[in-house]
Amino acid sequence: MENLLSIAIFLPLLGAILVGIVRNEKFSKVVSLSISSVVFFIMLYLFLNFNWSAQGFQYLTKLNWIPSLGISYHVGVDGMAISLLLMTSLVFVSAFLWSLKIEDRPNLYFALFLALETACLGVFSALDLFLFYLFWEGMLIPMYFIIGLWGHDRKVYAANKFFVYTFFGSVFLLLGLASIVAYGYIMTGTISFDYTFHMAFSYPMLLQIAGFLLFGLGFAVKIPMWPVHTWLPDAHVEAPTAGSMVLAAVLLKMGTYGFVRYSLTLFPDASKYLIPLIFFLSLVAIIYTAMMAIAQTHIKRLIAYSSISHMGVVTLGTFAMDLNALNGAIYMMIAHGLSSAALFMSAGFIYDRVHSYHMDDLGGLARYVPKLAVLFMISGLAGIGFPGLAGFVAEFLVFLGTYKNFPVWAFIAGVGVVLSAVYFLYMYKRVMFEEETLSEYRLEKWKHLKDLELHHMLSFILIIVSAFIMGLYPYPFVKIIEHTSRYVLGG
C-alpha cells in the first residue's frame, strides 16, 4: 500500500496503452472514466490520511534509476502537492465525463488524455529534478496533439505556438537545473538530481539570482506571467473544451507550483531580492489582463485572460514572504483550477449548442438553457472570488498576507476584485441577458436548444460542489497547505 502514489501516477499511462491496443470506443470511455475515478479516490484517500502536523514529505517512494548520474525515481508529496493532485485528478474525472459524447477519433483522444494525466500527476509528485523535468516536458506532447487535432479553426497555429513557447521556457529551466546540479557536483563531488539533496544547499547570491531567473523564465511562461502570456489565449481559443479545462486547471498550476516548490526553497535570498520585479509583473498581470479581458468578444479568450489575471494574484501571494499570503496563493491555485474548469465547461457547452464563441452571436440564452445559466453564474462567482466559494478564501488570504509587508501593493492589487467582477458580469450579460435586443431568427434557433445533459451536469456538480466545500469550510485545506508554507518560508 505504500506505493499507492506511484500506482496512481502510472495507472492512467497503463490505461492509455490499453486504450491504444484495444481501440474500441466504448472500452476507451469506460476505461478512462473508471481509471480516472480510481485515481481520484486514491488521491482522496491519500489526502484524508495526510498528516498535516508532521514534517517533510509523505508517501515517499525512492528507486535507483540511473545511479551513475544520481537520477532516481523519487516521488512523494507535501501539503501543497497532495492538494493539487486531488484537484488534478478531480478535474480529469470531470473532463472525461464531459467528453463522453465525443465522436472524432475517440480512442486516440482518450489515450492522449490518460497519458496527459500521468504527466500532470507526475509533475506534482516528483522529488527528483530529472524526473520532474521529464514529466514537465512529457506533458507537452499529448497537449500538443489535443490542441492540434481536436481544436478549432486555427488549431495548428495555436498548437505550434503553445509548443514552441513553452519549450522555449523549458530550455531555460533545463539550464537552471543543470547549473544547480553542476554546483552540487563541484561542492560535494556527488552528482545528484534529488530535490531533498539540493534543498540542503545555500547557494551563493550570484548563482541564486541566475538560477532564479532561469527557473523563473521556465515557470513564468507556463503560468503565464505578463509579458510571456500570449500563447495562452490562443491555445485556449483553439483547444477543445476538455483540453481547455486541463490546460487552465492543471497546466497553469505547474508554473506557480514550480515557483513555490523550487524557486522559493532553492533560491530564498534571490526570491527576496527580486520581489519588486515579481510584484510589478503580478500587478501588471492583474490589472492589464483584466483590461484585456473586458475588451474581448470571444468567451474563451476572455476566460483565458481572466486566468492570467488570477495567476497574477498567485504570484503576488507567493512572493509576499508571508505565511498567510503563501497559503492564499496555493489555495488560489486549487480554487482557480476549479473555477476555470467550470467556466471553460460553460463556454464549451455554449459552443457545442450554438457553434459560436462570439458574444455578438449570443445573448438572451438564460431562458433557454436555464441550468447552464445557473451553473455558469456560479462558476463565474467562484472565479471572481465570491464569499462562500473557494476563490474568496484565496483572495482574502493573499491580500491579507501581502498587506502585512506591502500594504500599497496589496491595495492596488485589490482592484482586481472589482475588475474581475466587471468583466465577468459584462460577459455574462452579453451571453445570457438582453433577450429583447435579439433578432427573431436567433430566438427561433434558441428555442430548439437542448439544456445540459446528465454527464454534463455530473461533471459540473463535481467541480462546483468542491468549490463550495472549499469556500465554506476551508479549515482542513488551509491546514494541509500550511504544511508546505511553513517549511518553504521557514527554511
Binding site: 491580500f399 466587471v422 479549515y475
Partner: protein, 609 residues
C-alpha cells in the same frame, strides 16, 4: 440553538426553492419563502427578548486558520443586532406576502426564482446583522450584493434591467474592495476579527491607523448605501420589481451601510477624524439626493432618491456622534419607506406594470383609496409630521445637528423641507389632479387585492406607531434624549412648509410647474441629471475604461507583445535562409571552413600555453 433558526430558516427556504422550485411550483415557493421569513421573525423576537437582558453569542465553526489566529464564524445577539434583525424580518415577511399579489401575473414563468433570490437576500442580510465578526459581515455584505444584482436584473430580457444590475454590482464591488481592505487593516490593528475582541481593545490601538481602517470600512458602507460618490446605481436599481425596491433598496440592504457603521461604532468613535468624513459624505448626499428628487418624474426613482437622502441623514447623525438616532431613524425609515414603495408598486400593478411616470397617472384618489391612505401615511411620516414615526426619529437628528453646529442644523432643515416637498409633489400629482392615464388606458385602475393591501395597512400602522417606542429604544441602547420643543416645532413647520408649497403648485396650480421648469431649465436639468454624475460615470469612466481597454488590446497586446512573439518566426526563418547558404555543397567553401577551423584550433593550442 434557537438563535440559529433566525439565520437558517431563510437559507433552508432558499435551498428548497432553489433545488425543487420548478417542481413544487411558484405558489408553493412563495409560501415557503414567506414561512422562512415568518419563522425568522418569530425567533428573532424571541432572541430580542433574551438579548435585551443579556447579550449572547453562538459559535458556529472554525472557518479559517491563520498564522496565530483562527477565524471562526458565529452569531452575536445584542439589543442592536436583534432589534434590527426583528425589523428586517418583519418588513421582509410583509413584503414577501405583498409580492405574491404583485408578481401574480408572472406566475408560471419561473417566478420561483424570485422567491429563491428573496430568501437568499434575507439570509445574507441577517448574516450582516447577526455576525459576530467582520468576515461574517463581509459574507453577508457580498451576499446581499449578489441578491441585489439578481433581483435588479430579474427582468433580464430587458437591456435596461441588465445594465442596471451590472452597474449595481460594479459599484457595490468598488465599495467591497474598500471594505475588504478595511477588514484587513482592522485585523492587523487588533489581531482579531471578532467584534467583541475589537471593542475590548479599541482604545489601545494607534489612532491614525484606526482612522484609516475606519475610512476603508466606511468606503464599503458608501457603496452599499448608495452614498456619494458611489450612488448612481441606486436610482437605476429601480428597474427591478417593486417589492425588491421596497425590501432591498429602501428598507434593508441599503441600510446595511448605516448598520455596519453603527455596529462598529466604538471603532469610529475612537477615530474622530473618520467621523467627520462620515458626516460630510452623509450631509452632502442628503442634500444632493433631495435636490435630484425634486426634478424626477419616475414614480420609483423619486422614492429612491428620497432613500438616498434619508440614508445620508443617518450617516450625518452617525458622523455627528449620535448612533441612537441614526439607528432609530433607520428602523422607522424601514417601515415608512417600505410603505411608500409598496403604495407605488400598488399603482404600477393597477396599470399592469406599464406606467412608470407620475405624469401618466393622476386622480387616483377615487379609484385606490387604501393605496392613497397608505401613501399619505408614508409621506407624512417621511416629511416628519407629528405624531407619525418619522417625526420622532427625524427630530432626534435635527436636534443633534443643531447641537453640533448651526450649519448642520440648517442643512438638515433644508433637506427636510425638500423631502416634504418632493414626496408630496409625487403624491399630489398621482392621487389628485387630472387623470392623465385616460389616453393610454381604457379601463379604470382598481384597488389592489387583499394580499397586497394587508401588508400595506400593517406597515402603515407601524409607520404611525413606531415613533412612540423612541424612549424604549433609547433606553435599550443606553441613550437618553430629551425632546426639544423648539426644534420639534421648527421641524414640523419646515415639513408643513414643504407640503404647502407642493400643495400650492400641484393642486392649486398657483405656478404652472411646466413653465417653472422651462424658466429654470439649467437648474432643472442639473438636478435631473444628478449633477451629471451619472453621465460622467457611464460615458467617461465606464465608457473610457472599455474604450481604452480595447485600444490597449489592439495595440499593446496584439501589435507589440504578440507582434514580437510572432516576429520570432520570420526572424528564425530569415536566419535559417542565410545559414543555409553555408551548406550549399560547395567543396571549396568546405575546404575554407576546414582551414579556418584548423587555424582556430591552432590559435587555441598556442594561446593555451
Amino acid at each position: 440553538m434557537e438563535g440559529l433558526v433566525v439565520l437558517l430558516s431563510p437559507l433552508i427556504a432558499f435551498l428548497i426553492i432553489g433545488f425543487f422550485g420548478s417542481r413544487i411550483g411558484d405558489m408553493a415557493s412563495a409560501v415557503l419563502c414567506i414561512l422562512g421569513g415568518l419563522f425568522s421573525f418569530i425567533f428573532s423576537l424571541w432572541a430580542t427578548s433574551k438579548a435585551i437582558s443579556q447579550p449572547f453569542s453562538i459559535k458556529l465553526y472554525d472557518f479559517l486558520p491563520m498564522e496565530n489566529y483562527t477565524i471562526s464564524l458565529g452569531l452575536y445577539f445584542d439589543p442592536l443586532s436583534s432589534i434590527t434583525a426583528s425589523v428586517v424580518t418583519f418588513v421582509a415577511t410583509l413584503i414577501f406576502i405583498y409580492s405574491v399579489g404583485y408578481m401574480s401575473n408572472l406566475f408560471g414563468q419561473w417566478t420561483f426564482k424570485f422567491y429563491a433570490y428573496l430568501s437568499l437576500f434575507l439570509f445574507a442580510m441577517l448574516l450582516i446583522v447577526l455576525s459576530d465578526n467582520l468576515l461574517g459581515i463581509f459574507f453577508g455584505w457580498e451576499g446581499v450584493g449578489l441578491a441585489s444584482y439578481l433581483l435588479i436584473g430579474y427582468f433580464h430580457t430587458q437591456k435596461k434591467a441588465s445594465n442596471a444590475s451590472l452597474e449595481a454590482f460594479t459599484l457595490n464591488r468598488i465599495g467591497d474592495w474598500f471594505f475588504l481592505f478595511g477588514i484587513i487593516a482592522t485585523f492587523y490593528l487588533f489581531g482579531s476579527l471578532s467584534i467583541l475582541d475589537i471593542f475590548g481593545k479599541v482604545s489601545e490601538v494607534d489612532k491614525a491607523l484606526l482612522g484609516l481602517a475606519c475610512l476603508l470600512l466606511f468606503g464599503g458602507a458608501v457603496g452599499k448605501s448608495g452614498q456619494l460618490p458611489l450612488h448612481t446605481w441606486l436610482p437605476n436599481a429601480m428597474a427591478g420589481p417593486t417589492p425588491v425596491s421596497a425590501l432591498l433598496h429602501a428598507a434593508t440592504m441599503v441600510a446595511a451601510g448605516v448598520y455596519m457603521v453603527a455596529r462598529l461604532y466604538p471603532m469610529f468613535e475612537n477615530a474622530p477624524q473618520s467621523l467627520k468624513v462620515v458626516a460630510l459624505v452623509g450631509g452632502i448626499t442628503a442634500l444632493f439626493a433631495g435636490l435630484s428628487a425634486t426634478s424626477h418624474t419616475d414614480i420609483k426613482k423619486i422614492i429612491a432618491f428620497s432613500t438616498m437622502s434619508q440614508l445620508g441623514l443617518m450617516f450625518l447623525a452617525l458622523g455627528l456622534g449620535d448612533k441612537m438616532s441614526a439607528m432609530f431613524h433607520l428602523t422607522t425609515h424601514a417601515f415608512f419607506k417600505a410603505l411608500l414603495f409598496l403604495s407605488a408598486g400598488s399603482i404600477i400593478h393597477a396599470f399592469h406594470h406599464h406606467v412608470h411616470d407620475i405624469y401618466e397617472t393622476g386622480g387616483l384618489k377615487r379609484y385606490m383609496p387604501i393605496t392613497y391612505g397608505s401613501f399619505l401615511v408614508g409621506a407624512l411620516a417621511l416629511a416628519g409630521i407629528f405624531p407619525l414615526s418619522g417625526f420622532w426619529s427625524k427630530d432626534l437628528i435635527v436636534a443633534t445637528a443643531y447641537e453640533v453646529s448651526f450649519f448642520w442644523g440648517v442643512l438638515v432643515s433644508v433637506v427636510s423641507f425638500l423631502t416634504a416637498y418632493y414626496i408630496f409633489r409625487e403624491g399630489f400629482v398621482m392621487f389628485h389632479g387630472k387623470e392623465h392615464f385616460r389616453h393610454e388606458h381604457k379601463e379604470e385602475p382598481h384597488e389592489s387585492p387583499g394580499v397586497m393591501t394587508i401588508p400595506m395597512v400593517v406597515l402603515g400602522v407601524m409607520a404611525v406607531v413606531a415613533g412612540f417606542f423612541e424612549g424604549w429604544y433609547g433606553g435599550i441602547l443606553g441613550v437618553k434624549k430629551e425632546l426639544h420643543i423648539g426644534i420639534a416645532i421648527l421641524s414640523v413647520l419646515v415639513g408643513l412648509a414643504g407640503i404647502g408649497v407642493a400643495y400650492l403648485v400641484y393642486v392649486r396650480g398657483l405656478i404652472d410647474p411646466q413653465k417653472a421648469y422651462e424658466a429654470l431649465k439649467p437648474l432643472h436639468t442639473t438636478f435631473k441629471e444628478q449633477f451629471f454624475t451619472e453621465r460622467l460615470y457611464h460615458k467617461v469612466l465606464a465608457g473610457g475604461y472599455l474604450f481604452y481597454s480595447k485600444i490597449l488590446y489592439m495595440t499593446a497586446e496584439r501589435q507589440l507583445i504578440d507582434g514580437l512573439v510572432n516576429a520570432t518566426h520570420p526572424v528564425v526563418r530569415g536566419a535559417g535562409s542565410v545559414l543555409r547558404l553555408l551548406q550549399a555543397g560547395k567543396l571549396n567553401l568546405y575546404a575554407l571552413f576546414m582551414a579556418f577551423g584548423f587555424l582556430a584550433l591552432l590559435f587555441i593550442t598556442i594561446l593555451w600555453r
